[in-house]
């Protein structure tokens, strides 16, 4: 087996000094290159902390985080991120919003001026992939919440990151829009094949999208269970009604219930 793309090795994370809150403890997980992994857990279990550790935005209190073969000791520059709120810049049009990462990543910023038409074409192609063709000249406020979140996804993907970190990106959307975006996300992943870590509290979302679902315990968080999802792709809404899908989500729900009550579970 090749070396994992992301290795989290017995990591602990404590906020605010020695007697601060312990968000993660003895947390270990591996993600292979090109794999789509979902992390689920009860609220407040430190899922978002995990995101910040992997991207190097915060240093771990204990343990090692290794991404793409090297230890993380500062912001990694290969990650794309999307959050619950789209965090678009209201003064920029959609195209310019999507192209924001190109203006800051060391790899692209120098080339952007000379190769602007190519980059713009790339951004438009990405917008087309998520179903936003023809919206590149609009401002964010002219778009619905779901469309803003699609834009946010494009922004996370424009610099072709090897690692995509998604922190509950669909949780602020209504159910129909959310399910629509699962399909979009799956399409994007199948075309681009980035390594994805998706943090979510929606078990159906996790099973629909991921190759593997990890369950975190209540705070201090650690991985207490793991389920492989072998359902064939592309998965559709029909898939979510199959017995296999239902059995998987039911399983995961039991783990979450156990995690919430603080019991030990055996896998």
């Amino acid at each position: 087996m090749t070396r994992p793309f992301v290795e989290i090795d017995h990591v602990a994370m404590r906020y605010g000094g020695v007697d601060g809150t312990l968000a993660l403890q003895d947390c270990s997980m591996n993600v292979q290159e090109g794999e789509f992994v979902a992390v689920v857990g009860p609220s407040g279990c430190g899922k978002s902390t995990l995101m910040r550790l992997v991207t190097g935005l915060w240093p771990a209190t204990e343990g090692n985080v290794i991404v793409d073969g090297s230890e993380v000791d500062g912001p990694v520059t290969i990650a794309g991120m999307a959050f619950q709120s789209p965090t678009l810049l209201p003064w920029r049009r959609i195209l310019a919003n999507v192209m924001l990462p190109l203006e800051v990543t060391p790899e692209h910023r120098g080339r952007l001026r000379r190769e602007r038409p190519q980059y713009e074409a790339r951004a438009r192609e990405l917008l087309k992939l998520v179903g936003l063709e023809g919206f590149d000249g609009k401002y964010p406020y002219q778009l619905s919440g779901g469309m803003q979140q699609r834009t946010s996804l494009c922004r996370a993907l424009i610099h072709e990151p090897k690692l995509l970190m998604l922190d509950e990106p669909f949780s602020a959307l209504d159910v129909f829009t959310r399910e629509e975006l699962w399909a979009v996300m799956q399409d994007v992943w199948m075309v681009r094949r980035p390594t994805v870590i998706l943090v979510t509290h929606d078990l159906r979302e996790a099973v629909y999208l991921a190759d593997r679902v990890l369950v975190m315990s209540a705070r201090p968080g650690r991985i207490i269970a793991e389920r492989k999802v072998d359902l064939p792709r592309p998965r559709t809404l029909e898939t979510t009604y199959t017995p296999e899908f239902q059995a998987l989500t039911a399983d995961l729900r039991r783990y979450i219930a156990a995690a919430r009550s603080g019991e030990e579970v055996t896998i």
Binding site: T77, S85, W91, L100, V104, T105
Partner: protein, 279 residues
């Protein structure tokens, strides 16, 4: 879509007409209020026979303006010049310091108490010191205008930059953005609405600063004109100076507002959208 019924159409048209009337009224309302105030003023002065050296009637003030138009013009240009010079310095200094305070917790903690203390000092008390340092001339009013209009700009720019969403910072930092990138790409554009809001306050208080200095150290300007006129009990001329100052303040405010609308329309689009969707 089906044709609108005749009744719905009539109702729609009457609503649109009402909206148009209201917009027209909103446009003229400031002028109606100003005109009404002067008319009321004139009536009260004439009806109660108030002496000119207590409260001159608007027509006395107009006569005074016509009679003294040359000194009024010269002095208001001096005041305008000093105000704009001080205001310009306040913009440059205020934006620089605002960016520093908004983007660095260290600078914020270190400088904020001092800034608050400094802003609490009445600027009129600083003028004598400025006179000792720079002599009587254009510098005391310029610097007083600067000192008084500096603070609101700093606070607003700092607020705009300090309130950038943490998630957005994370997105950029995870791409390898330097703090400078975050300020240039996100912080400054985001601070623009705050900046313009502060300009509208700063430009009007800059006049206050300049005129205070001109009245303490009467060299030139509207402040001096008012001091000289009041020492001669030429109250209509005092009022003429006040009205011209108010007028200049409004004009500069409008300019600031115009630039604001042109550059940061995205921040107020909610209101515009409602107006557009009014039909």
């Amino acid at each position: 879509m089906a044709e609108m019924s005749a009744r719905a159409l009539a109702r729609y048209q009457s609503m649109a007409a009402a909206a148009r009337r209201q917009r027209r009224l909103e446009h003229w309302l400031p002028w109606i209020v100003i005109g009404g105030m002067f008319a009321l003023w004139e009536i009260i002065v004439v009806a109660f026979g108030i002496a000119e050296f207590i409260l001159p009637a608007p027509h006395d003030i107009v006569n005074s303006m016509i009679r003294w138009w040359r000194p009024l013009m010269q002095d208001s240009l001096v005041t305008l010049y000093c105000t704009l010079a001080g205001f310009g310095m306040a913009i440059v200094g205020g934006v620089l310091l605002g960016v520093a305070i908004g983007s660095s917790q260290m600078v914020y903690k270190g400088l904020y108490p001092l800034l608050i203390a400094f802003n609490s000092i009445p600027k009129v008390a600083v003028v004598p010191i400025l006179i000792i340092w720079f002599g009587i001339g254009v510098w005391p009013p310029i610097l007083t205008a600067f000192l008084i209009s500096f603070f609101p700009i700093v606070v607003n720019v700092a607020t705009g930059i300090a309130t950038v969403e943490p998630e957005l910072k994370d997105v950029l930092r995870a791409l390898g953005a330097k703090p400078r990138d975050i300020i240039v790409k996100v912080g400054l554009p985001r601070a623009m609405p705050y900046f313009f809001a502060s300009l509208k306050i700063a430009v009007t208080v800059a006049f206050v600063g300049a005129i205070i200095a001109e009245s303490v150290a009467p060299n030139a300007g509207i402040g001096r004109l008012i001091m000289v006129a009041s020492s001669r009990f030429d109250v209509p001329l005092v009022f003429a100076g006040l009205i011209i100052t108010g007028f200049m303040g409004i004009v500069l405010y409008w300019i600031a507002e115009y630039i604001e609308r042109r550059t940061t329309g995205w921040a107020t689009r909610g209101q515009n959208q409602n107006l557009a969707a009014g039909g």
